[in-house]
Symmetry: C2
Subunit: 423 residues, 2 copies
């Protein structure tokens, strides 16, 4: 693994091991948390860790940690600080789960790159002063239980484990049943063992012109479920003037969200809907939609959601329906550690520093640890869809960049543990 | 069964036998064609027929026929004409299947009333000159295989049985597999055995103020599937200006259909939608909707659908999406035999004659037989929903009216077989 060519080749080989897992005929991935496909990826994680003599720890929340400890034989603990001595570890990694029919790169690229970065450092004879731990976080997309970054939220105590245990998937199965027990919840013992988290991720817009970049911030964002109640009735016989059709209120809300977002240079999407009874010849009795909204700052986001809710409620009055908005998950603005971002961008030769509209486990962890993200260029800007892609050479550049970052962070003093924490 | 009170009581008792079959917790019914619930209703049909010595015939299309033959012992044939002699029979009945979470009355009321009308005639010592046959038609709602009145269309040759065999339900199961063979298709031998069809049905708007009425016509109507193709992408990172979001085109189409229908005193409904991938944080790649449209005449219906398609296509151009409309099933205007309707309304003491926006097997059969419909009052106008209802006294009045109609039609010469056929 001495030349760039080798790294591209190696990346391609390892990447191919995953490409068939959970792939749908359309080329998209169905890798929901704890589904057979995602469990196969977890098995792959265990095999990769074992082949590198990196012991794996579970945190009781579905997250996995494989650790390369500086002292040979000091295995079993997640971090050097886990045994009460030594410096805190450097955490890296990402997630395996996908949105329905999502792309191959969102998540798995960060885990694959982490293992390959370890290989690269070892091949170069590097011996870390701090442990390097590769993490696979659970249910980052929230595609199964509805709460994004569920694994990292549980680990850091950002969500109550008893509440999380009762979250249900589309089949009505509860998280507690899937795990076989309520999740463990906050593990400050584990989190305190790390002095930094660095997540490598495919960039998801068209915002990065270089092969690799560093993240500055994550836009504040959230998901609001809106329930429209009307009156089920016969599509053929019910006078238009007698109708209380929730599909009309839903459709108006979709268009209002689009318009209000454009007015504010924000993002709003309604990508999911459930209709009762969803029959061609019946006026629905109820329509449930989900609004995904994001903006550059929290005031703009609040104004956006408020404007959509106000217009939708007015329309509901005209349609004879009722509408109710419920925040399912909201995440404030994340500003990654500015000093760390600048340091890493410099280390990588002055690569771009840019914000993103996408949420990540790094955003959750940034409230507890100095945290940074590396982005790998996305040539088309497509993400959360089968066409999501990244060039092999850019992925190899990402592995190289991550290796340099891990080398730097695991061999030198880090920022103070109480500084650089996101407000 | 000599007094009105007895008939109300009897109706209530028989009706109660069915009320638990296929009932969902919301009080609506899930009685899809050939589902366990609908099969239980077919079993009930066989038991009712057997208890009345009415032999049951299958037509190879999923439709059932139970016949009361004038000559005692002449059992087994569907109609008197089936053995080459005697006058044609009188057909009555309806369907058991429901829309998802539909009401109890739409369909089963016509079958229950038919058996009770036979009881009433027998209790009064009536001996029909023509056979009286009670039918249970299959898949009238089209809720499982997408084509409304599938059973009566197959029986009359209005749909190709090979095409019908390949229709699939939401689980991908084909009709041919459900039946165990391709449907038999047109059975002119059976249809020619009848000289009239009378279907009793709950009225479905708020159009009938009397307990019982007679139908004049069915509005022309149809179902148009519309497929909107866009580009799946990330809800958080994709610039609004870069989006090709099919949900926007869908929402616009829903509102356009509503507006264009109101402008024409017509009916338009979008009650069913399927989204790919249907994830909160993904711009959909495709949205499929179904437009149910109906109008008083065919020119108005065509203009309505054309206007909706035109506006939707313009909007798709602005959204960067593509939209395609496909007619899944269309039914021209049905004018029931005017002479027969007037005769029955007179027989029943001058009850109202009224059109309906709802499709029925009677509409399909009216192209082949003199056909009439009796409506039973719907106090709320709700149909295709759990709240659909009819008063016991009105249902008893419906049984009484149907008995008088069957008595009349099975004992006197009917209109000529070639007349009174819907154009």
């Amino acid at each position: 693994m001495s030349s760039d060519l080798d790294l591209v080749h190696t990346f391609r080989e390892v990447w191919a091991e995953l490409s068939g897992i959970g792939r749908a005929p359309d080329g998209g991935y169905l890798r929901f948390a704890w589904s057979p496909a995602e469990v196969a990826l977890r098995d792959w994680f265990h095999a990769q860790a074992a082949s590198r003599d990196m012991p794996v720890t579970h945190d009781g929340n579905g997250n996995l940690f494989a650790t390369w400890s500086p002292a040979a034989g000091a295995s079993g603990a997640v971090s050097g600080r886990g045994d009460g001595n030594g410096p805190g570890g450097v955490l890296t990694g990402s997630h395996f789960d996908s949105v329905p029919h999502g792309g191959a790169f969102d998540g798995p690229l960060g885990i694959v790159s982490a293992f390959l970065a370890v290989d690269l450092l070892r091949a170069r004879g590097f011996r870390p002063a701090r442990p390097i731990t590769v993490a696979a976080f659970a249910e980052e997309e929230g595609s199964r239980f509805g709460v994004a970054c569920l694994g990292s939220r549980l680990l850091t105590g950002a969500i109550d484990p008893a509440r999380a245990a009762e979250l249900t998937d589309r089949d009505g199965l509860a998280l507690g049943d899937v795990l076989g027990a309520a999740p463990a919840g906050a593990r400050p013992d584990l989190v305190a063992g790390f002095d930094a988290y660095v997540e490598l991720h495919v960039e998801q817009g068209r915002a990065l012109a270089a092969p690799v970049g560093v993240a500055s911030a994550i836009w504040p964002h959230g998901r609001w479920r809106f329930d429209v109640e009307g009156e089920g009735n016969h599509a053929g016989t019910t006078l238009m003037s007698d109708r209380r059709d929730p599909m009309l209120t839903y459709a108006f809300t979709v268009l209002a969200a689009n318009k209000e977002a454009r007015l504010r240079d924000a993002h709003a999407t309604v990508g999911r809907v459930e209709v009762t009874p969803n029959a061609t010849n019946a006026i629905p009795s109820a329509v449930r939609g989900w609004l995904d909204a994001r903006a550059a700052d929290e005031a703009t986001l609040a104004a956006l959601v408020e404007a959509v809710a106000k217009k939708a409620t007015e329309r509901a009055g005209r349609d004879g329906t009722g509408i109710r908005f419920t925040a399912e998950s909201t995440t404030g603005e994340v500003r990654f550690d500015e000093g760390l971002a600048a340091r890493l961008a410099g280390l990588l030769g002055g690569v771009p520093i840019l914000p993103t509209g996408a949420g990540h486990d790094a955003g959750v962890l940034s409230a507890h640890l100095p945290t940074a993200m590396l982005f790998v260029r996305n040539p088309t800007g497509v993400s959360h869809a089968p066409a999501e892609t990244a060039a092999d050479a850019d992925c190899a550049a990402g592995v190289e960049a991550l290796a340099r970052v891990l080398e730097e962070l695991s061999s030198t003093p880090l920022v103070d543990h109480d500084e650089g924490v996101a407000k």
